[in-house]
Amino acid sequence: MITFSPEIKKIEDEVITHFLNSILSEGRDVITSTILFYFITRKDLTQRELQKLTGFSAGKISQEVNEFVRMNLITILSKSSTGEITYSMESIESEIFNRGINIIKSNLKWEPKLLEIIADLNDNEEQLRKLNGYEKIKLNVEEQLLRFTGYKNLLKMWNVLEQKLEKKLNS
């Protein structure tokens, strides 16, 4: 990790604080956001370096970093002779991209199950209507399925953008 001069470190700290108080952090845990923002500013980091920058526990950092790797937001860049791993957020656009793709794919995975539910609610309406909750469940499942159409269109758009992004990164 490059050691930033005090002046540069101060600017970095101000940027991260600003991001943490902005729409960029909404709905996200402060630890998750902080680690994400350090990858944005520093690109390559080990877990030990993250601990030094953030003051978070080793356990929490390990948990968050592994989740970021699972979601393809960061990759494993290298492993030292002592086994220490350096992680990298190569491209910020790729990170946003991969996060978006993860959200859409994660949602679409549920489509078959929700279609099964709506079929059951329709086929067995007479019996199921007698139970408390029928209308609310049906309405919510229908709302989600309607959104899936939008997600699929978004995925098509995303695939086109992904190809453009790949060309840009490889050029």
Partner: protein, 167 residues
């Protein structure tokens, strides 16, 4: 604004519908996980998405979270403008519901907030130039410039996503 009192067990679903409710909650929570959202926040939002409106006690029955935790999480959503708090008629109790315009408002927020963030980053890049040559200058400048460029992409995607949720 006040409304009529809700039936006390309306929020407890029965039989198969209870199982289907759990499927929906699991789906909505996993969707939140993909966005790195806080688990408890996401679970509370999931139940509200299904039931449309709930009191704190009803949230407690459904989630098993303490009233203190529920109150704190709901406060977050109220402050973010995601949910509204309304009084139940002739009582001191309140119910909570998702604001239907939230996605339109969040979408509009991106039109006001993103330019502000871009402006802030541009200001910081100008500050960085004063310290050219110092350790970290090159890397931080590169990364902030990249972030600036990515905003056009984010804004476009955000508009699409907002469209999905406001249809």
């Amino acid at each position: 604004m006040t409304v009529s009192r809700d039936s006390s067990k309306e929020h407890i679903f029965e039989g198969k519908l209870k199982e289907y409710e759990q499927v929906l909650v699991d789906f909505l929570v996993e969707s939140g996980r993909a966005k790195s959202a806080d688990f408890k926040l996401q679970k509370i939002l999931a139940y509200l998405s299904i039931h449309k409106r709930l009191t704190q006690k009803q949230f407690r029955d459904l989630t098993s979270y303490s009233i203190g935790t529920i109150s704190k999480k709901l406060r977050f959503f109220i402050d973010s403008g995601v949910i509204e708090k309304k009084r139940i008629e002739k009582s001191n109790e309140y119910f909570y519901q998702i604001d239907n315009l939230v996605y339109a408002r969040v979408g509009n927020l991106s039109h006001t907030e993103f330019p502000r963030i871009k402006e802030y980053i541009s200001m910081k890049l100008a500050e960085l130039e004063i310290h050219k040559g110092k350790p970290g200058h090159e890397l931080l400048t590169l990364r902030l410039n990249e972030m600036l460029q990515s905003f056009d992409f984010i804004t476009r995607i955000w508009s699409e996503i907002r469209g999905i949720f406001t249809r």
